[in-house]
Symmetry: C2
Subunit: 213 residues, 2 copies
DNA sequence: TAGATTGTTAATCGATTAACAATC
DNA sequence: TAGATTGTTAATCGATTAACAATC
Protein backbone atom coordinates (compact mmCIF):
# COMPACT_ATOMS: atom_id res chain seq x y z
CA UNK A 1 0.00 0.00 0.00
CA UNK A 2 1.44 3.33 -0.98
CA UNK A 3 1.14 5.56 2.05
CA UNK A 4 0.73 9.13 0.94
CA UNK A 5 1.87 11.52 3.63
CA UNK A 6 -0.02 14.78 3.37
CA UNK A 7 1.36 17.55 5.60
CA UNK A 8 -1.19 18.80 8.08
CA UNK A 9 -0.44 22.33 6.92
CA UNK A 10 -1.64 21.31 3.48
CA UNK A 11 -4.97 20.13 4.91
CA UNK A 12 -5.31 23.37 6.84
CA UNK A 13 -4.72 25.38 3.70
CA UNK A 14 -7.11 23.22 1.72
CA UNK A 15 -9.79 24.14 4.22
CA UNK A 16 -8.97 27.80 3.68
CA UNK A 17 -8.88 27.50 -0.12
CA UNK A 18 -12.23 25.81 0.04
CA UNK A 19 -13.80 28.65 1.96
CA UNK A 20 -12.28 31.16 -0.46
CA UNK A 21 -13.74 29.22 -3.38
CA UNK A 22 -17.16 29.34 -1.74
CA UNK A 23 -16.88 33.10 -1.71
CA UNK A 24 -15.85 33.26 -5.36
CA UNK A 25 -18.73 30.97 -6.25
CA UNK A 26 -21.22 33.11 -4.37
CA UNK A 27 -19.91 36.10 -6.32
CA UNK A 28 -20.51 34.29 -9.60
CA UNK A 29 -16.84 33.84 -10.49
CA UNK A 30 -16.36 30.71 -12.59
CA UNK A 31 -12.61 30.43 -13.19
CA UNK A 32 -9.66 31.07 -10.92
CA UNK A 33 -5.88 30.68 -11.21
CA UNK A 34 -3.48 29.42 -8.54
CA UNK A 35 -2.14 32.97 -8.40
CA UNK A 36 -5.55 34.41 -7.60
CA UNK A 37 -6.21 31.83 -4.90
CA UNK A 38 -2.74 32.50 -3.49
CA UNK A 39 -3.39 36.24 -3.44
CA UNK A 40 -6.78 35.75 -1.85
CA UNK A 41 -5.61 33.65 1.05
CA UNK A 42 -2.04 34.87 1.51
CA UNK A 43 0.22 32.05 0.32
CA UNK A 44 2.39 31.48 -2.77
CA UNK A 45 0.95 30.23 -6.07
CA UNK A 46 3.39 27.29 -6.05
CA UNK A 47 2.05 26.35 -2.65
CA UNK A 48 -1.51 26.25 -3.92
CA UNK A 49 -0.59 24.03 -6.87
CA UNK A 50 1.54 21.77 -4.74
CA UNK A 51 -1.20 21.35 -2.13
CA UNK A 52 -3.72 20.37 -4.80
CA UNK A 53 -1.22 18.06 -6.51
CA UNK A 54 -1.32 15.68 -3.54
CA UNK A 55 -4.83 14.74 -4.56
CA UNK A 56 -5.01 14.93 -8.33
CA UNK A 57 -5.06 17.22 -11.35
CA UNK A 58 -7.94 19.63 -11.06
CA UNK A 59 -6.99 22.45 -13.39
CA UNK A 60 -6.53 23.18 -17.07
CA UNK A 61 -3.11 24.41 -18.22
CA UNK A 62 -3.22 27.85 -19.66
CA UNK A 63 -6.65 28.44 -18.17
CA UNK A 64 -6.86 27.78 -14.43
CA UNK A 65 -9.41 26.01 -12.27
CA UNK A 66 -13.16 25.84 -12.58
CA UNK A 67 -14.41 27.34 -9.33
CA UNK A 68 -17.44 25.10 -8.84
CA UNK A 69 -15.51 21.93 -9.67
CA UNK A 70 -12.52 22.77 -7.52
CA UNK A 71 -14.81 23.68 -4.63
CA UNK A 72 -16.51 20.31 -4.98
CA UNK A 73 -13.15 18.50 -5.05
CA UNK A 74 -11.77 20.31 -2.00
CA UNK A 75 -14.93 19.62 -0.01
CA UNK A 76 -14.73 15.96 -0.97
CA UNK A 77 -11.06 15.76 0.01
CA UNK A 78 -11.87 17.29 3.39
CA UNK A 79 -14.65 14.77 3.89
CA UNK A 80 -17.28 17.49 3.78
CA UNK A 81 -19.34 15.87 1.07
CA UNK A 82 -21.10 14.02 3.87
CA UNK A 83 -22.89 15.03 7.07
CA UNK A 84 -21.04 14.59 10.34
CA UNK A 85 -23.02 14.09 13.52
CA UNK A 86 -21.33 16.05 16.26
CA UNK A 87 -21.90 16.49 19.97
CA UNK A 88 -20.75 19.29 22.23
CA UNK A 89 -20.09 18.53 25.86
CA UNK A 90 -20.14 21.61 28.05
CA UNK A 91 -22.96 24.15 27.76
CA UNK A 92 -21.17 27.09 29.33
CA UNK A 93 -20.45 30.24 27.37
CA UNK A 94 -18.03 28.54 25.00
CA UNK A 95 -20.32 25.56 24.40
CA UNK A 96 -23.16 27.96 23.82
CA UNK A 97 -21.14 29.96 21.30
CA UNK A 98 -20.05 26.81 19.48
CA UNK A 99 -23.67 25.61 19.21
CA UNK A 100 -24.68 28.77 17.47
CA UNK A 101 -21.48 29.21 15.44
CA UNK A 102 -22.51 29.34 11.81
CA UNK A 103 -19.07 28.19 10.65
CA UNK A 104 -19.90 24.68 11.83
CA UNK A 105 -23.32 24.20 10.36
CA UNK A 106 -22.41 25.64 7.00
CA UNK A 107 -19.73 23.04 6.41
CA UNK A 108 -21.63 19.81 6.87
CA UNK A 109 -21.39 19.54 10.62
CA UNK A 110 -24.66 18.69 12.27
CA UNK A 111 -24.83 19.26 15.99
CA UNK A 112 -27.07 16.53 17.34
CA UNK A 113 -26.56 17.08 21.06
CA UNK A 114 -25.31 19.46 23.75
CA UNK A 115 -24.57 18.00 27.14
CA UNK A 116 -23.78 19.24 30.61
CA UNK A 117 -24.09 17.91 34.12
CA UNK A 118 -24.91 21.24 35.72
CA UNK A 119 -28.63 21.11 36.69
CA UNK A 120 -28.98 24.85 36.08
CA UNK A 121 -28.01 24.29 32.45
CA UNK A 122 -29.87 21.06 31.69
CA UNK A 123 -33.07 21.73 29.82
CA UNK A 124 -31.98 25.15 28.57
CA UNK A 125 -32.70 25.81 24.90
CA UNK A 126 -29.86 26.75 22.55
CA UNK A 127 -31.37 27.37 19.13
CA UNK A 128 -32.93 24.09 18.04
CA UNK A 129 -31.19 22.18 20.79
CA UNK A 130 -31.95 21.46 24.42
CA UNK A 131 -29.10 20.87 26.86
CA UNK A 132 -29.15 17.20 27.89
CA UNK A 133 -27.76 15.63 31.06
CA UNK A 134 -24.39 14.01 30.47
CA UNK A 135 -25.86 10.68 31.54
CA UNK A 136 -27.84 10.56 28.30
CA UNK A 137 -24.70 10.77 26.17
CA UNK A 138 -24.36 7.00 25.58
CA UNK A 139 -27.96 6.62 24.46
CA UNK A 140 -27.99 9.65 22.17
CA UNK A 141 -24.52 8.86 20.81
CA UNK A 142 -25.76 5.49 19.67
CA UNK A 143 -29.07 6.69 18.29
CA UNK A 144 -27.57 9.62 16.39
CA UNK A 145 -24.32 7.89 15.45
CA UNK A 146 -22.17 10.64 16.91
CA UNK A 147 -18.70 10.44 15.34
CA UNK A 148 -17.20 13.71 16.53
CA UNK A 149 -17.11 15.01 20.09
CA UNK A 150 -16.30 18.58 21.06
CA UNK A 151 -14.98 19.23 24.56
CA UNK A 152 -16.01 22.61 25.95
CA UNK A 153 -15.73 21.87 29.66
CA UNK A 154 -13.19 23.20 32.20
CA UNK A 155 -9.69 21.73 32.17
CA UNK A 156 -10.35 19.59 35.23
CA UNK A 157 -13.16 17.63 33.54
CA UNK A 158 -11.66 17.37 30.06
CA UNK A 159 -9.93 13.98 30.32
CA UNK A 160 -12.96 12.37 31.92
CA UNK A 161 -15.24 13.66 29.17
CA UNK A 162 -12.82 12.44 26.49
CA UNK A 163 -12.78 8.97 28.05
CA UNK A 164 -16.56 8.86 28.05
CA UNK A 165 -16.72 9.95 24.42
CA UNK A 166 -14.25 7.28 23.34
CA UNK A 167 -16.10 4.62 25.30
CA UNK A 168 -19.24 5.53 23.41
CA UNK A 169 -17.86 5.20 19.92
CA UNK A 170 -16.73 8.72 19.13
CA UNK A 171 -13.97 8.58 16.49
CA UNK A 172 -12.64 12.13 16.64
CA UNK A 173 -12.31 14.65 19.45
CA UNK A 174 -11.88 18.40 19.28
CA UNK A 175 -10.70 19.76 22.61
CA UNK A 176 -11.09 23.38 23.65
CA UNK A 177 -9.72 22.86 27.17
CA UNK A 178 -6.12 24.07 27.42
CA UNK A 179 -4.69 20.74 28.55
CA UNK A 180 -3.14 17.68 26.88
CA UNK A 181 -5.58 14.80 26.75
CA UNK A 182 -4.82 11.12 26.26
CA UNK A 183 -6.88 9.08 23.84
CA UNK A 184 -6.18 5.74 22.13
CA UNK A 185 -4.06 5.93 18.98
CA UNK A 186 -6.95 5.16 16.67
CA UNK A 187 -8.90 8.22 17.87
CA UNK A 188 -8.31 11.46 15.99
CA UNK A 189 -7.77 14.33 18.35
CA UNK A 190 -6.88 18.01 18.07
CA UNK A 191 -6.69 20.89 20.50
CA UNK A 192 -7.94 24.39 19.88
CA UNK A 193 -6.38 26.82 22.28
CA UNK A 194 -8.04 30.22 22.13
CA UNK A 195 -5.24 31.86 24.08
CA UNK A 196 -2.11 30.55 22.33
CA UNK A 197 -2.40 32.82 19.30
CA UNK A 198 -2.95 35.77 21.57
CA UNK A 199 0.33 34.90 23.25
CA UNK A 200 2.07 34.70 19.89
CA UNK A 201 0.95 38.28 19.37
CA UNK A 202 2.29 39.48 22.71
CA UNK A 203 5.51 37.58 22.11
CA UNK A 204 5.97 39.30 18.77
CA UNK A 205 5.18 42.75 20.15
CA UNK A 206 7.65 42.27 22.99
CA UNK A 207 10.26 40.65 20.82
CA UNK A 208 10.16 43.49 18.34
CA UNK A 209 10.87 45.99 21.07
CA UNK A 210 13.73 43.87 22.40
CA UNK A 211 15.37 43.73 18.96
CA UNK A 212 15.24 47.46 18.46
CA UNK A 213 17.14 48.16 21.67
CA UNK B 1 21.99 43.64 14.84
CA UNK B 2 21.76 39.90 15.22
CA UNK B 3 18.29 38.88 14.13
CA UNK B 4 17.25 35.78 15.98
CA UNK B 5 14.61 33.88 14.05
CA UNK B 6 12.39 31.97 16.44
CA UNK B 7 10.02 29.50 14.73
CA UNK B 8 6.38 30.29 15.44
CA UNK B 9 5.93 26.65 16.45
CA UNK B 10 8.48 27.26 19.21
CA UNK B 11 6.46 30.16 20.56
CA UNK B 12 3.29 28.08 20.43
CA UNK B 13 4.97 25.30 22.40
CA UNK B 14 6.42 27.80 24.88
CA UNK B 15 2.88 28.90 25.59
CA UNK B 16 1.92 25.27 26.21
CA UNK B 17 4.97 24.56 28.38
CA UNK B 18 4.14 27.60 30.39
CA UNK B 19 0.62 26.42 31.11
CA UNK B 20 1.95 22.99 32.06
CA UNK B 21 4.42 24.60 34.45
CA UNK B 22 1.57 26.53 36.06
CA UNK B 23 -0.12 23.22 36.77
CA UNK B 24 3.03 21.70 38.24
CA UNK B 25 3.49 24.78 40.40
CA UNK B 26 -0.07 24.62 41.67
CA UNK B 27 0.58 20.99 42.61
CA UNK B 28 3.63 21.99 44.61
CA UNK B 29 6.19 20.41 42.28
CA UNK B 30 9.47 22.33 42.42
CA UNK B 31 11.75 20.63 39.88
CA UNK B 32 11.09 19.25 36.42
CA UNK B 33 13.21 17.73 33.64
CA UNK B 34 12.87 18.29 29.91
CA UNK B 35 11.68 14.70 29.70
CA UNK B 36 8.85 15.29 32.13
CA UNK B 37 7.75 18.46 30.34
CA UNK B 38 7.94 16.59 27.04
CA UNK B 39 5.85 13.74 28.40
CA UNK B 40 3.32 16.15 29.89
CA UNK B 41 2.66 18.09 26.72
CA UNK B 42 3.35 15.47 24.06
CA UNK B 43 6.60 16.51 22.37
CA UNK B 44 10.20 15.20 22.48
CA UNK B 45 12.65 16.13 25.26
CA UNK B 46 15.11 17.46 22.68
CA UNK B 47 12.39 19.72 21.39
CA UNK B 48 11.78 21.18 24.83
CA UNK B 49 15.47 21.90 25.38
CA UNK B 50 15.90 23.33 21.90
CA UNK B 51 12.90 25.62 22.29
CA UNK B 52 14.23 26.97 25.57
CA UNK B 53 17.75 27.33 24.16
CA UNK B 54 16.58 30.11 21.84
CA UNK B 55 16.21 32.32 24.88
CA UNK B 56 18.90 31.31 27.36
CA UNK B 57 20.07 28.67 29.79
CA UNK B 58 17.40 28.08 32.39
CA UNK B 59 18.27 24.65 33.79
CA UNK B 60 20.91 22.92 35.86
CA UNK B 61 22.75 19.98 34.27
CA UNK B 62 22.13 16.76 36.08
CA UNK B 63 19.17 18.28 37.90
CA UNK B 64 16.58 19.84 35.63
CA UNK B 65 14.63 23.06 35.80
CA UNK B 66 13.23 24.92 38.79
CA UNK B 67 9.49 25.05 38.11
CA UNK B 68 8.80 28.50 39.55
CA UNK B 69 11.81 30.05 37.82
CA UNK B 70 11.15 28.46 34.45
CA UNK B 71 7.50 29.49 34.65
CA UNK B 72 8.59 33.05 35.32
CA UNK B 73 11.01 32.98 32.37
CA UNK B 74 8.50 31.53 29.93
CA UNK B 75 5.89 34.11 30.93
CA UNK B 76 8.43 36.87 30.47
CA UNK B 77 9.44 35.54 27.05
CA UNK B 78 5.80 35.47 25.97
CA UNK B 79 5.35 39.03 27.14
CA UNK B 80 2.94 37.95 29.87
CA UNK B 81 4.84 39.65 32.68
CA UNK B 82 2.82 42.72 31.85
CA UNK B 83 -0.90 43.50 31.49
CA UNK B 84 -2.32 43.80 28.01
CA UNK B 85 -5.37 45.96 27.45
CA UNK B 86 -7.60 44.19 24.97
CA UNK B 87 -10.87 45.00 23.26
CA UNK B 88 -13.39 42.66 21.71
CA UNK B 89 -15.46 43.88 18.81
CA UNK B 90 -18.61 41.85 18.29
CA UNK B 91 -20.86 40.97 21.21
CA UNK B 92 -22.63 38.02 19.62
CA UNK B 93 -22.34 34.53 21.05
CA UNK B 94 -18.65 34.24 20.25
CA UNK B 95 -17.81 37.67 21.60
CA UNK B 96 -19.78 36.86 24.70
CA UNK B 97 -17.93 33.59 25.20
CA UNK B 98 -14.57 35.28 24.71
CA UNK B 99 -15.43 37.96 27.30
CA UNK B 100 -16.08 35.33 29.91
CA UNK B 101 -13.30 32.95 28.83
CA UNK B 102 -11.11 32.44 31.86
CA UNK B 103 -8.11 31.47 29.69
CA UNK B 104 -7.69 35.13 28.72
CA UNK B 105 -7.91 36.79 32.08
CA UNK B 106 -5.64 34.29 33.79
CA UNK B 107 -2.74 35.09 31.48
CA UNK B 108 -2.44 38.83 31.85
CA UNK B 109 -5.03 39.87 29.31
CA UNK B 110 -7.34 42.55 30.57
CA UNK B 111 -10.50 43.07 28.58
CA UNK B 112 -11.25 46.78 28.78
CA UNK B 113 -14.07 46.98 26.29
CA UNK B 114 -16.66 45.07 24.27
CA UNK B 115 -18.19 46.79 21.29
CA UNK B 116 -21.05 46.22 18.89
CA UNK B 117 -23.20 48.36 16.65
CA UNK B 118 -26.37 46.34 17.13
CA UNK B 119 -28.72 48.44 19.32
CA UNK B 120 -30.20 45.29 20.88
CA UNK B 121 -26.75 44.41 22.22
CA UNK B 122 -25.49 47.83 23.27
CA UNK B 123 -25.86 48.33 27.02
CA UNK B 124 -26.04 44.61 27.78
CA UNK B 125 -23.90 43.48 30.72
CA UNK B 126 -21.29 40.75 30.23
CA UNK B 127 -19.69 40.10 33.59
CA UNK B 128 -18.02 43.35 34.63
CA UNK B 129 -18.40 44.82 31.18
CA UNK B 130 -21.13 46.69 29.37
CA UNK B 131 -21.40 46.44 25.59
CA UNK B 132 -20.45 49.80 24.10
CA UNK B 133 -21.45 51.27 20.74
CA UNK B 134 -18.72 50.89 18.16
CA UNK B 135 -18.61 54.67 17.79
CA UNK B 136 -17.01 54.89 21.24
CA UNK B 137 -14.07 52.70 20.21
CA UNK B 138 -11.67 55.57 19.39
CA UNK B 139 -12.28 57.31 22.69
CA UNK B 140 -12.02 54.21 24.85
CA UNK B 141 -9.04 52.88 22.87
CA UNK B 142 -7.12 56.04 23.66
CA UNK B 143 -8.17 56.25 27.30
CA UNK B 144 -7.46 52.60 28.06
CA UNK B 145 -4.45 52.28 25.74
CA UNK B 146 -5.89 49.29 23.89
CA UNK B 147 -3.03 47.46 22.20
CA UNK B 148 -4.82 44.28 21.13
CA UNK B 149 -8.08 44.01 19.22
CA UNK B 150 -10.14 40.86 18.89
CA UNK B 151 -12.49 40.54 15.92
CA UNK B 152 -15.62 38.52 16.68
CA UNK B 153 -17.94 39.92 14.03
CA UNK B 154 -19.34 38.23 10.90
CA UNK B 155 -17.05 37.79 7.91
CA UNK B 156 -18.63 40.67 6.03
CA UNK B 157 -17.68 43.25 8.69
CA UNK B 158 -14.25 41.90 9.62
CA UNK B 159 -12.06 44.00 7.32
CA UNK B 160 -13.86 47.19 8.23
CA UNK B 161 -13.44 46.51 11.94
CA UNK B 162 -9.75 45.72 11.45
CA UNK B 163 -9.24 49.02 9.62
CA UNK B 164 -10.90 50.90 12.44
CA UNK B 165 -8.75 49.17 15.03
CA UNK B 166 -5.56 49.99 13.18
CA UNK B 167 -6.61 53.59 12.72
CA UNK B 168 -7.05 53.85 16.48
CA UNK B 169 -3.62 52.62 17.48
CA UNK B 170 -4.19 48.89 17.96
CA UNK B 171 -0.89 47.06 17.47
CA UNK B 172 -2.10 43.47 17.23
CA UNK B 173 -5.27 41.87 15.90
CA UNK B 174 -6.73 38.46 16.60
CA UNK B 175 -9.35 37.58 14.02
CA UNK B 176 -12.03 34.95 14.56
CA UNK B 177 -13.80 35.62 11.27
CA UNK B 178 -12.95 32.96 8.68
CA UNK B 179 -11.57 35.36 6.12
CA UNK B 180 -8.16 36.78 5.19
CA UNK B 181 -7.78 40.35 6.40
CA UNK B 182 -5.31 42.97 5.23
CA UNK B 183 -3.47 45.07 7.75
CA UNK B 184 -0.28 47.15 7.43
CA UNK B 185 2.98 45.19 7.81
CA UNK B 186 3.77 46.65 11.20
CA UNK B 187 0.53 45.30 12.71
CA UNK B 188 0.68 41.81 14.21
CA UNK B 189 -2.23 39.73 13.06
CA UNK B 190 -3.37 36.12 13.46
CA UNK B 191 -6.48 34.20 12.55
CA UNK B 192 -8.23 31.68 14.73
CA UNK B 193 -10.50 29.47 12.70
CA UNK B 194 -12.75 27.35 14.87
CA UNK B 195 -13.74 25.11 11.99
CA UNK B 196 -10.36 24.30 10.37
CA UNK B 197 -9.29 21.78 12.99
CA UNK B 198 -12.65 20.09 12.75
CA UNK B 199 -12.03 19.68 9.03
CA UNK B 200 -8.60 18.20 9.71
CA UNK B 201 -10.42 15.58 11.77
CA UNK B 202 -12.91 14.75 9.02
CA UNK B 203 -10.08 14.69 6.48
CA UNK B 204 -8.18 12.20 8.60
CA UNK B 205 -11.20 9.99 9.20
CA UNK B 206 -12.01 9.92 5.51
CA UNK B 207 -8.40 9.50 4.46
CA UNK B 208 -7.93 6.55 6.76
CA UNK B 209 -10.85 4.76 5.18
CA UNK B 210 -9.54 5.51 1.70
CA UNK B 211 -6.15 4.02 2.51
CA UNK B 212 -7.61 0.80 3.87
CA UNK B 213 -9.50 0.10 0.65
C1' DT C 1 32.97 9.15 41.76
C1' DA C 2 28.66 7.44 39.31
C1' DG C 3 24.37 8.83 37.61
C1' DA C 4 21.59 12.20 35.62
C1' DT C 5 20.28 15.83 32.73
C1' DT C 6 21.34 20.00 30.38
C1' DG C 7 22.92 22.79 26.28
C1' DT C 8 24.49 22.42 21.68
C1' DT C 9 26.17 20.58 17.40
C1' DA C 10 25.63 17.87 13.39
C1' DA C 11 22.62 14.81 10.85
C1' DT C 12 18.20 13.99 9.31
C1' DC C 13 13.97 14.86 7.86
C1' DG C 14 10.28 17.35 5.70
C1' DA C 15 8.15 21.37 3.71
C1' DT C 16 8.42 25.33 0.66
C1' DT C 17 9.93 27.56 -3.40
C1' DA C 18 11.86 28.25 -7.94
C1' DA C 19 11.89 26.91 -12.34
C1' DC C 20 10.32 24.91 -16.40
C1' DA C 21 8.32 21.46 -19.56
C1' DA C 22 3.68 20.34 -20.74
C1' DT C 23 -0.31 21.94 -22.71
C1' DC C 24 -4.52 24.64 -23.08
C1' DT D 1 1.21 30.61 -33.10
C1' DA D 2 1.80 33.47 -28.75
C1' DG D 3 0.43 33.90 -24.18
C1' DA D 4 -0.96 31.89 -20.06
C1' DT D 5 -1.10 28.71 -16.43
C1' DT D 6 -0.80 24.11 -14.78
C1' DG D 7 1.67 19.98 -12.82
C1' DT D 8 6.03 18.41 -11.30
C1' DT D 9 10.91 18.10 -10.40
C1' DA D 10 14.98 19.66 -8.23
C1' DA D 11 16.98 23.05 -5.17
C1' DT D 12 16.51 25.45 -1.11
C1' DC D 13 15.28 26.35 3.19
C1' DG D 14 14.04 25.46 7.88
C1' DA D 15 12.68 22.59 11.69
C1' DT D 16 13.24 18.36 14.33
C1' DT D 17 15.94 14.76 16.21
C1' DA D 18 19.94 12.15 17.68
C1' DA D 19 23.90 12.20 20.00
C1' DC D 20 27.19 13.65 23.15
C1' DA D 21 30.33 16.72 25.72
C1' DA D 22 29.68 19.59 29.66
C1' DT D 23 28.61 19.62 34.28
C1' DC D 24 25.66 19.30 38.35
Amino acid sequence: MKTLRVPEATVTRLSIYSRFLERLDRNGITTVSSGEIAEGVGVSPAQVRKDLAYFGEFGTRGVGYNVKDLLKYTLKILGLDQEWALAIVGAGNLGFALCTYRGFNVRGFHIVGVFDNDPTRIGKRIGDLVVQPLTLFPEIAQKENIRIGVIAVPTSAAQEVADMMVKNGVEAVLNFAPVAINVPDEIEMRNVDLSVKLEILTFNLGFRNAQSL
